[in-house]
Amino acid sequence: MTGQYWPFWAGALALGGIATLHAVWLGRPLGVSGSLARVARPSDPTGVGSVWVHVAFLCAIAAGALAAALIRGTFRIELAPGPSLRQLYGPWALVALAAGGALVGAGTRMAGGCTSGHGLSGCARLVPSSLIATGCFMAAAVATSLLLKGLAP
């Protein structure tokens, strides 16, 4: 599988370059959960920026991924969860997606950031709360995944 994807250094250069350009051009760190939270609360008067700007940003991410899948020749509309999800969860894959998503939403909102905001933009500046956040979500994700793997049939 791994061979089809970019080697780590190419991914590191691309993501690091994007996070840097985001801070240079927009004057604030890259953070996707911030955009998602803005979109989730369209009528919040304390929200930063127009909702539609964040909708457009999120759609641009999806469009970029679509382009990558088309270039790699892997684009395929899938209506049902993929084989690895089905192997882990059987008929409960959609429930796992919904429950996992809810935890991601509540957790990133509570923590004030996700992989891009805390993990990338925060850790790069050695922000203490971001270093703690990244340690916590990585450790929790590894522990959960090992448990899932152990429990899977």
Binding site: M1, T2, Y5, P7, F8, W9, G11, A12, L15, G16, I18, A19, A23, V24, R28, P29, G31, V32, S33, G34, S35, V39, R41, C59, I61, A62, G64, A65, L66, R76, L79, G82, L88, L97, G100, A102, L103, V104, G105, A106, G107, R109, M110, A111, G113, T115, S116, G122, A124, R125, L126, V127, S129, S130, I132, T134, C136, F137, A140, A141
Partner: protein
């Protein structure tokens, strides 16, 4: 901003961050490539910010909500294979069931805001927005 979003989705797609199998292999410690990618990206960002960004950027204050929320986030990410950015990548690649996880995220964000406004009253500042 839109160009950056497009580039982010493109890069995540080529890296394989939107592939549940790859992410699960990372989290079950079977493959170090995504960890190296992430660590390298932190290094490149650190260098880039130091060289090109003069203004101080907003940071999240240290509060117990940060480790607590991050543990919830980590468990959720392991369960559904998607963080907010990767969820958009998954849908863009054609994996429509990932939209269920994105819907769950929106419900989770609103649920936390509801609980926070009524009982917790934590002053959470986002690192991104």
């Amino acid at each position: 901003m839109l160009g950056l979003g497009f580039a982010l989705g493109l890069a995540l797609g080529f890296i394989g961050f939107g592939d549940f199998t790859e992410v699960h292999r990372m989290f079950t410690l079977q493959d170090a490539r995504l960890y190296l990618t992430f660590a390298g990206a932190v290094g490149v960002t650190a260098l880039g910010l130091r060289l090109f960004v003069r203004v101080p950027l907003e940071s999240t204050r240290l509060h117990r909500s940060v480790p607590l929320g991050s543990v919830l986030f980590g468990v959720g990410w392991a369960l559904c294979g998607a963080c907010p950015g990767i969820g958009m990548v998954g849908v863009g690649q054609g994996a429509l069931p990932v939209a269920v996880a994105l819907g769950g995220m929106i419900v989770g964000i609103r649920a936390f805001d509801f609980v926070n406004a009524r009982w917790l009253r934590w002053q959470s500042t986002s690192c991104g927005m």
